[in-house]
Protein backbone atom coordinates (compact mmCIF):
# COMPACT_ATOMS: atom_id res chain seq x y z
CA UNK A 1 0.00 0.00 0.00
CA UNK A 2 2.83 2.40 1.00
CA UNK A 3 2.41 5.90 -0.37
CA UNK A 4 -1.00 5.36 -1.92
CA UNK A 5 -2.71 5.48 1.46
CA UNK A 6 -2.30 9.25 2.00
CA UNK A 7 -3.87 9.73 -1.42
CA UNK A 8 -6.80 7.41 -0.65
CA UNK A 9 -7.19 9.06 2.69
CA UNK A 10 -7.22 12.54 1.17
CA UNK A 11 -9.73 11.49 -1.47
CA UNK A 12 -12.00 9.74 1.01
CA UNK A 13 -13.55 13.05 2.03
CA UNK A 14 -16.36 14.59 -0.03
CA UNK A 15 -15.34 18.19 0.68
CA UNK A 16 -11.78 17.53 -0.37
CA UNK A 17 -13.00 16.00 -3.60
CA UNK A 18 -15.05 19.13 -4.22
CA UNK A 19 -12.00 21.27 -3.61
CA UNK A 20 -10.08 19.20 -6.15
CA UNK A 21 -12.95 19.42 -8.57
CA UNK A 22 -12.83 23.21 -8.34
CA UNK A 23 -9.14 23.18 -9.12
CA UNK A 24 -9.72 21.39 -12.39
CA UNK A 25 -10.44 24.64 -14.18
CA UNK A 26 -7.25 26.27 -12.94
CA UNK A 27 -5.42 27.62 -9.88
CA UNK A 28 -7.54 29.18 -7.14
CA UNK A 29 -7.01 30.99 -3.87
CA UNK A 30 -8.42 29.74 -0.58
CA UNK A 31 -11.13 32.41 -0.70
CA UNK A 32 -12.18 31.41 -4.18
CA UNK A 33 -12.29 27.78 -3.16
CA UNK A 34 -14.25 28.50 0.00
CA UNK A 35 -16.89 30.57 -1.82
CA UNK A 36 -19.92 28.37 -2.36
CA UNK A 37 -18.65 25.52 -0.23
CA UNK A 38 -20.59 24.82 2.95
CA UNK A 39 -17.46 24.98 5.07
CA UNK A 40 -15.44 27.78 6.59
CA UNK A 41 -12.32 29.21 5.06
CA UNK A 42 -10.09 27.77 7.81
CA UNK A 43 -11.65 24.38 7.14
CA UNK A 44 -10.80 24.71 3.46
CA UNK A 45 -7.24 25.60 4.42
CA UNK A 46 -7.09 22.48 6.53
CA UNK A 47 -8.36 20.35 3.65
CA UNK A 48 -5.80 21.93 1.35
CA UNK A 49 -3.07 21.00 3.77
CA UNK A 50 -4.14 17.34 3.66
CA UNK A 51 -4.31 17.47 -0.12
CA UNK A 52 -0.89 19.03 -0.33
CA UNK A 53 0.65 16.46 1.99
CA UNK A 54 -0.82 13.73 -0.18
CA UNK A 55 0.77 15.32 -3.22
CA UNK A 56 -2.56 16.17 -4.84
CA UNK A 57 -2.18 19.94 -4.88
CA UNK A 58 0.71 22.38 -4.91
CA UNK A 59 0.71 26.01 -3.96
CA UNK A 60 2.62 29.10 -4.94
CA UNK A 61 2.54 32.72 -3.93
CA UNK A 62 1.06 35.17 -6.41
CA UNK A 63 1.56 38.65 -5.02
CA UNK A 64 -0.30 38.67 -1.74
CA UNK A 65 -2.30 35.55 -2.49
CA UNK A 66 -1.48 31.89 -2.15
CA UNK A 67 -2.68 30.02 -5.23
CA UNK A 68 -3.42 26.30 -5.21
CA UNK A 69 -3.37 24.05 -8.23
CA UNK A 70 -4.05 20.43 -9.02
CA UNK A 71 -1.02 18.16 -9.06
CA UNK A 72 -1.66 15.43 -11.59
CA UNK A 73 1.29 13.34 -10.50
CA UNK A 74 -0.49 12.70 -7.20
CA UNK A 75 -3.42 11.18 -9.03
CA UNK A 76 -1.09 9.06 -11.11
CA UNK A 77 0.13 7.41 -7.91
CA UNK A 78 -3.33 6.01 -7.34
CA UNK A 79 -3.86 5.04 -10.93
CA UNK A 80 -0.55 3.21 -11.04
CA UNK A 81 -1.40 1.46 -7.79
CA UNK A 82 -4.74 0.21 -9.14
CA UNK A 83 -3.19 -0.95 -12.40
CA UNK A 84 -0.41 -2.89 -10.72
CA UNK A 85 -2.78 -4.32 -8.12
CA UNK A 86 -4.88 -6.06 -10.78
CA UNK A 87 -1.85 -7.09 -12.81
CA UNK A 88 -0.51 -8.88 -9.73
CA UNK A 89 -3.86 -10.49 -8.96
CA UNK A 90 -4.44 -11.69 -12.50
CA UNK A 91 -0.91 -12.97 -12.90
CA UNK A 92 -1.65 -15.25 -9.94
CA UNK A 93 -5.10 -16.09 -11.25
CA UNK A 94 -3.79 -17.01 -14.70
CA UNK A 95 -1.11 -19.23 -13.20
CA UNK A 96 -3.70 -21.03 -11.05
CA UNK A 97 -6.04 -21.41 -14.01
CA UNK A 98 -3.30 -22.85 -16.18
CA UNK A 99 -2.33 -25.30 -13.47
CA UNK A 100 -5.92 -26.36 -12.99
CA UNK A 101 -6.41 -26.86 -16.73
CA UNK A 102 -3.27 -29.01 -16.86
CA UNK A 103 -4.53 -31.15 -13.98
CA UNK A 104 -7.89 -31.61 -15.69
CA UNK A 105 -6.14 -32.67 -18.89
CA UNK A 106 -4.13 -35.31 -16.99
CA UNK A 107 -7.20 -36.68 -15.34
CA UNK A 108 -9.05 -37.00 -18.64
CA UNK A 109 -7.81 -39.99 -20.64
CA UNK A 110 -7.35 -39.07 -24.28
Amino acid sequence: MNDVNPVLDALGDATRRQVLDRLRSGPRSVSELAAGLPVSRPAVSQHLRVLREAGLVTSRRDGTRQLYRLERAGLEVLRTYVESFWDDVFAAFSAAATERAAQAAEETPR
Partner: protein
Protein backbone atom coordinates in the same frame (compact mmCIF):
# COMPACT_ATOMS: atom_id res chain seq x y z
CA UNK B 1 -18.43 21.16 -16.18
CA UNK B 2 -17.10 17.72 -15.43
CA UNK B 3 -17.09 14.69 -17.66
CA UNK B 4 -19.10 11.60 -16.87
CA UNK B 5 -16.47 9.21 -18.15
CA UNK B 6 -15.36 7.62 -14.94
CA UNK B 7 -13.77 4.49 -16.31
CA UNK B 8 -10.09 4.27 -16.68
CA UNK B 9 -8.65 0.99 -15.53
CA UNK B 10 -9.64 -1.79 -17.90
CA UNK B 11 -7.95 -5.16 -18.14
CA UNK B 12 -8.63 -8.39 -19.99
CA UNK B 13 -7.03 -11.77 -19.39
CA UNK B 14 -7.48 -15.10 -21.18
CA UNK B 15 -7.43 -18.25 -19.10
CA UNK B 16 -7.64 -21.90 -20.25
CA UNK B 17 -10.77 -22.76 -18.28
CA UNK B 18 -14.47 -22.72 -19.03
CA UNK B 19 -16.36 -19.65 -17.77
CA UNK B 20 -17.89 -21.78 -15.00
CA UNK B 21 -14.50 -23.06 -13.84
CA UNK B 22 -12.88 -19.64 -14.13
CA UNK B 23 -15.71 -18.08 -12.15
CA UNK B 24 -15.46 -20.70 -9.44
CA UNK B 25 -11.69 -20.36 -9.25
CA UNK B 26 -11.95 -16.60 -8.90
CA UNK B 27 -14.54 -16.69 -6.15
CA UNK B 28 -14.95 -19.93 -4.15
CA UNK B 29 -11.34 -20.95 -4.60
CA UNK B 30 -9.97 -17.44 -4.23
CA UNK B 31 -7.69 -18.23 -1.29
CA UNK B 32 -5.91 -20.92 -3.35
CA UNK B 33 -4.26 -18.38 -5.63
CA UNK B 34 -4.86 -14.77 -4.56
CA UNK B 35 -1.52 -13.13 -3.60
CA UNK B 36 -2.48 -13.02 0.06
CA UNK B 37 1.09 -12.48 1.21
CA UNK B 38 0.90 -8.97 -0.17
CA UNK B 39 -2.61 -8.12 -1.37
CA UNK B 40 -4.64 -8.46 1.79
CA UNK B 41 -5.73 -6.51 4.83
CA UNK B 42 -3.71 -8.92 6.97
CA UNK B 43 -0.85 -9.83 4.64
CA UNK B 44 0.45 -13.34 5.15
CA UNK B 45 -2.13 -14.17 7.80
CA UNK B 46 -5.22 -14.90 5.74
CA UNK B 47 -6.70 -18.36 6.13
CA UNK B 48 -9.89 -17.88 4.16
CA UNK B 49 -11.50 -15.57 1.63
CA UNK B 50 -15.29 -15.46 1.52
CA UNK B 51 -17.45 -14.24 -1.35
CA UNK B 52 -21.06 -14.14 -0.18
CA UNK B 53 -22.75 -15.15 -3.39
CA UNK B 54 -25.59 -12.65 -3.66
CA UNK B 55 -26.24 -8.95 -4.11
CA UNK B 56 -25.41 -7.22 -0.84
CA UNK B 57 -23.06 -10.03 0.17
CA UNK B 58 -19.72 -9.24 1.68
CA UNK B 59 -16.33 -10.11 0.28
CA UNK B 60 -13.90 -10.54 3.12
CA UNK B 61 -10.82 -12.30 4.38
CA UNK B 62 -10.50 -14.11 7.67
CA UNK B 63 -7.34 -14.98 9.54
CA UNK B 64 -6.80 -18.27 11.38
CA UNK B 65 -7.64 -16.57 14.68
CA UNK B 66 -10.84 -15.05 13.35
CA UNK B 67 -9.94 -11.49 12.43
CA UNK B 68 -11.76 -10.22 9.38
CA UNK B 69 -10.93 -7.64 6.76
CA UNK B 70 -13.59 -6.49 4.33
CA UNK B 71 -12.61 -6.25 0.68
CA UNK B 72 -15.94 -5.08 -0.68
CA UNK B 73 -19.65 -5.66 -1.20
CA UNK B 74 -21.30 -7.62 -3.99
CA UNK B 75 -23.74 -5.62 -6.10
CA UNK B 76 -24.45 -8.10 -8.89
CA UNK B 77 -23.91 -11.86 -8.68
CA UNK B 78 -24.60 -13.50 -12.03
CA UNK B 79 -22.65 -16.77 -12.02
CA UNK B 80 -20.83 -17.72 -14.15
CA UNK B 81 -21.01 -14.59 -16.26
CA UNK B 82 -20.52 -11.50 -14.21
CA UNK B 83 -19.88 -10.02 -10.78
CA UNK B 84 -20.06 -6.38 -9.87
CA UNK B 85 -18.76 -5.34 -6.50
CA UNK B 86 -17.78 -2.33 -4.48
CA UNK B 87 -14.12 -2.50 -3.70
CA UNK B 88 -12.37 -0.91 -0.72
CA UNK B 89 -9.88 -3.41 0.72
CA UNK B 90 -8.29 -1.94 3.80
CA UNK B 91 -8.73 1.55 2.42
CA UNK B 92 -9.20 4.59 4.58
CA UNK B 93 -12.81 5.24 5.61
CA UNK B 94 -14.78 6.89 2.85
CA UNK B 95 -12.71 5.53 -0.01
CA UNK B 96 -14.54 3.21 -2.33
CA UNK B 97 -14.68 2.07 -5.93
CA UNK B 98 -16.50 -0.36 -8.18
CA UNK B 99 -15.27 -3.41 -10.08
CA UNK B 100 -17.17 -5.07 -12.92
CA UNK B 101 -15.84 -8.53 -13.76
CA UNK B 102 -17.07 -10.50 -16.78
CA UNK B 103 -16.37 -14.08 -17.78
CA UNK B 104 -16.93 -14.81 -21.47
CA UNK B 105 -16.24 -17.98 -23.43
CA UNK B 106 -13.44 -17.43 -25.88
CA UNK B 107 -12.54 -20.50 -27.90
CA UNK B 108 -11.95 -23.27 -25.38
CA UNK B 109 -11.09 -20.82 -22.67
CA UNK B 110 -12.47 -17.72 -21.03
CA UNK B 111 -11.76 -14.07 -21.33
CA UNK B 112 -11.97 -12.35 -17.97
CA UNK B 113 -12.55 -8.62 -18.39
CA UNK B 114 -12.13 -6.26 -15.49
CA UNK B 115 -13.37 -2.70 -15.37
CA UNK B 116 -12.44 -0.72 -12.26
CA UNK B 117 -14.41 2.47 -12.17
CA UNK B 118 -14.44 5.81 -10.53
CA UNK B 119 -13.98 6.10 -6.90
CA UNK B 120 -17.17 7.16 -5.31
CA UNK B 121 -17.68 7.57 -1.64
CA UNK B 122 -19.74 5.40 0.62
CA UNK B 123 -22.94 5.92 2.46
CA UNK B 124 -24.46 9.35 2.59
CA UNK B 125 -22.25 10.62 -0.17
CA UNK B 126 -23.72 8.21 -2.69
CA UNK B 127 -26.80 10.23 -3.52
CA UNK B 128 -24.84 13.36 -4.02
CA UNK B 129 -22.59 11.46 -6.36
CA UNK B 130 -25.56 10.46 -8.44
CA UNK B 131 -26.81 14.01 -8.52
CA UNK B 132 -23.53 15.03 -9.97
CA UNK B 133 -22.80 17.20 -6.99
CA UNK B 134 -19.73 15.33 -5.94
CA UNK B 135 -17.74 14.42 -8.99
CA UNK B 136 -14.31 14.66 -7.54
CA UNK B 137 -13.56 11.00 -7.89
CA UNK B 138 -14.06 11.23 -11.63
CA UNK B 139 -10.76 12.87 -11.99
CA UNK B 140 -8.94 10.34 -9.90
CA UNK B 141 -9.18 7.50 -12.33
CA UNK B 142 -11.06 9.50 -14.90
CA UNK B 143 -10.27 10.68 -18.32
CA UNK B 144 -7.81 13.44 -18.81
CA UNK B 145 -8.96 16.67 -17.30
CA UNK B 146 -8.24 18.98 -20.14
CA UNK B 147 -9.07 22.18 -18.32
CA UNK B 148 -6.65 21.44 -15.52
CA UNK B 149 -3.85 20.78 -17.95
CA UNK B 150 -4.00 24.41 -18.99
CA UNK B 151 -3.63 25.59 -15.38
Amino acid sequence: MTTTGTMTVEKAYDVPLSPADAFELFTRRCAEWWPLETHACHPGEVAEVVWEEHAGGRIYERTADGREGEWGIVEVWDAPHRIVYRWHPDWPAGSDSRVDLRFEARGEGTRVSLTHTGFESRGDDAERVHEGYDLGWDLVLGERFAAAAAG
